[in-house]
C-alpha cells in the first residue's frame, strides 16, 4: 500500500509492504536512473521479505518518484533528512536500513537497529559515474563542467542541482560500530564484502529487468541477518 510521510520538502509517498508490526526495513535505492533500474528487484525483494514476516518501506525522496519537489531543486541533505523522517515514523518498530549503491550515503542520520548495504560506494565514486555518463553522452564532464558550467547538470535524463553533486564530494557510507553492519556485493565487484553474490547488478542493466532469483537471495540474506540481530 502507499502511505505518506512529511519530509523536508513536504509530503512524500512511500510504498509499504508486509506486516505492520515487528521488524521493518527502510530501503534507500541507488541514485537517479540507477533507481529506476533497481526498483523492480527491490520491490520483489520486499515482497519476499514480507513472506519472511518482515515489513518493508520504500520512500520517494524529494524530487524523485511522485514527489512534487522539482528534481533540480532537491538536495542531498534533504534526502538524508527525508530518510531520517521515515525512520522516525517507524520508531515504534525495530527499523533496519537496507541501502543500495548511492543510497548507502543517505541513511547516516537515522537511528537504525542495523545497516545492510548492497554495493556501498563513496560520494566520489558516484561522481566518477556521473563523469563517465557524461563522457558517454558526449558531454565531456571535467570537474569544471560537472560543478559549474551547466546548471542543472543532466545525469541520464535527470536534472540534478550542481549543489547536490558538490555535497556528494566527501560523502561516505555510515557504519558506526555500535550497531550491526553487513555488506553484500554482486557479480565481479572485488571490493571487501561479507558476501558476494554471483548475479548481474540490476543498476548496470540498460533496461529495468526482473530477477526473481536475485530478489529472493537478497531477501533471504536480509531475513537471516535480521534474525541474528534480533538474537
Amino acid at each position: 500500500m502507499i502511505d505518506f510521510y512529511d519530509g523536508p520538502g513536504g509530503r512524500e509517498a512511500m510504498l509499504c509492504l508486509g506486516p505492520a508490526q515487528g521488524p521493518v526495513v527502510l530501503v534507500a535505492l541507488p541514485f537517479w536512473e540507477e533507481a529506476n533500474r533497481t526498483r523492480v528487484v527491490a520491490v520483489a525483494m520486499l515482497r519476499a521479505l514480507a513472506r519472511h514476516g518482515i515489513g518493508g518501506v520504500l520512500p520517494d525522496w524529494p524530487g524523485t518518484g511522485e514527489s512534487l519537489v522539482e528534481t533540480e531543486k532537491a538536495s542531498f541533505a534533504q534526502w538524508r533528512l527525508a530518510h531520517r523522517s521515515v525512520a522516525e515514523m517507524l520508531a515504534a518498530r525495530r527499523c533496519y536500513g537496507v541501502s543500495m549503491r548511492g543510497g548507502t550515503l543517505v541513511d547516516g542520520l537515522a537511528d537504525l537497529a542495523g545497516r545492510w548495504h548492497l554495493a556501498p560506494m563513496t560520494g566520489e565514486a558516484v561522481l566518477r559515474d556521473v563523469i563517465r555518463l557524461r563522457a558517454a553522452a558526449g558531454l565531456r564532464g571535467d570537474e569544471h563542467g560537472v560543478f559549474g558550467a551547466e546548471s542543472p547538470v543532466r545525469v541520464a535524463g535527470n536534472r540534478v542541482s550542481p549543489h547536490f553533486l558538490a555535497e556528494l564530494a566527501g560523502a561516505a557510507p555510515s557504519a558506526p560500530e555500535a550497531i550491526p553492519y553487513r555488506v553484500v556485493r554482486l557479480g565481479h565487484d572485488r571490493a571487501p564484502a561479507d558476501r558476494t553474490i554471483d548475479a548481474v547488478p540490476p543498476w548496470r542493466r540498460a533496461e529495468p529487468q526482473e530477477d526473481p532469483e536475485l530478489a529472493a537471495t537478497l531477501a533471504e540474506d536480509i531475513a537471516q541477518w535480521i534474525a541474528t540481530c534480533e538474537g
Binding site: E33, D129, I131, R132, L133, A135, A136, A137, G138, R140, G141, A156, G187, H188, D189, R190, V200, P201, W203, R204, R205, A206, E207, Q209
Partner: protein
Amino acid sequence: MELQAGSEVEATVRGVLADVLGLSQERVAGFDAETPLFGALPELDSMAVAGVLTELEDRLGILIEDDEVDGEMLETFGQLVAFANAKAQG
C-alpha cells in the same frame, strides 16, 4: 595485472553485452568483428555505454579513462574487443 588470453577477453565482452543490454546469448554469440554496435543497437544508449565500460572494468580488472571513451571504440564488436584486449594486456 594478470594477462588474459584474447579469446577470454572476447568472451568477457560478449558476456557483458548480453548482461548489460539484456541480449540473448544466441544473439551475442552471432556477433563478429564487423557487427556494428554504437548507433546500431537501440539498447546501447549513453547510460548503457557507461554500464558496459564499468562492467568491463570489473570483469577484466582494467581501468578505462573517460577521455578514452569515444564512438570509435564502440563502433563495431571487433573494435570494442580490440580496445578491451589492449587494456587487458596492459
